[in-house]
Subunit: 135 residues, 2 copies
């Protein structure tokens, strides 16, 4: 069984590229600088279902995204979450939070309607992120 | 500077004990089986601020808690989150979710008022968790 991104994740994000373990996605919500890591392993729903080397790789990908978000967005906080209550396929959110952002201080999940990017803006941002994070 | 648990985390949890990296806490909310890992490193707010060996240890502690929750609670999903928008001190939530639980399918954070445990119930649960997870 090979990895296929869940169609709901595909529909709500822009693909940036592939890291060592995960497909890197940009959430289509211009209210937040919001990245998603989807480990390219078929049929998994929980972090603990990854093998130990993949777990270690996922942690380092979370760290790399966090550093990038901090540098790029001047974060007040970084939110990291693996929920999957709606889309069960294993994926990890890494989100730049700013004091006073539209969901602050609550979580972004379920916090009102997404504000879709202009297509060109998202494509440019995805290219910038790929340039910085994808080897 | 030595590690001191944030008083707000202390007030809303029961201490279970110390794992290799983190203090293990039971959230005082009987609606969910909800554990928290607070890495015993002073002054940190983000996962990426941990050194790489501590990040690896944190990931393995998340995995150990996830396995325990799945076995103990028969989870439909496990939610893992490092938010810290309200209490900035680095801490990671690991929560057993069931379809139809009081916040399903939303996140538990901000989902209504906590339902405090009976003191004896929490102490017994904390002892059980310590017996299974603390060496």
């Amino acid at each position: 069984m090979s990895f296929v991104l869940d169609p709901r994740l595909e529909a709500s994000t822009f693909a940036i590229g592939d890291l060592g373990l995960s497909r890197l996605l940009l959430m289509n919500d211009a209210r937040f600088l919001w990245l998603i890591l989807a480990p390219r392993r078929a049929g998994l729903t929980e972090i603990v279902d990854l093998g130990a080397p993949d777990r270690a790789a996922l942690m380092e990908e979370i760290a790399a995204l966090s550093q990038w978000l901090r540098r790029r967005a001047g974060t007040d906080k970084i939110n990291v979450g693996a929920l999957g209550n709606i889309v069960a396929q294993l994926h990890v959110h890494v989100i730049a939070r700013r004091i006073g952002d539209p969901a602050w201080p609550g979580p972004v999940w379920g916090a009102g309607a997404a504000q879709p990017y202009e297509e060109g803006t998202a494509r440019e941002l995805a290219r910038e992120i790929a340039g910085d994070l994808i080897n």
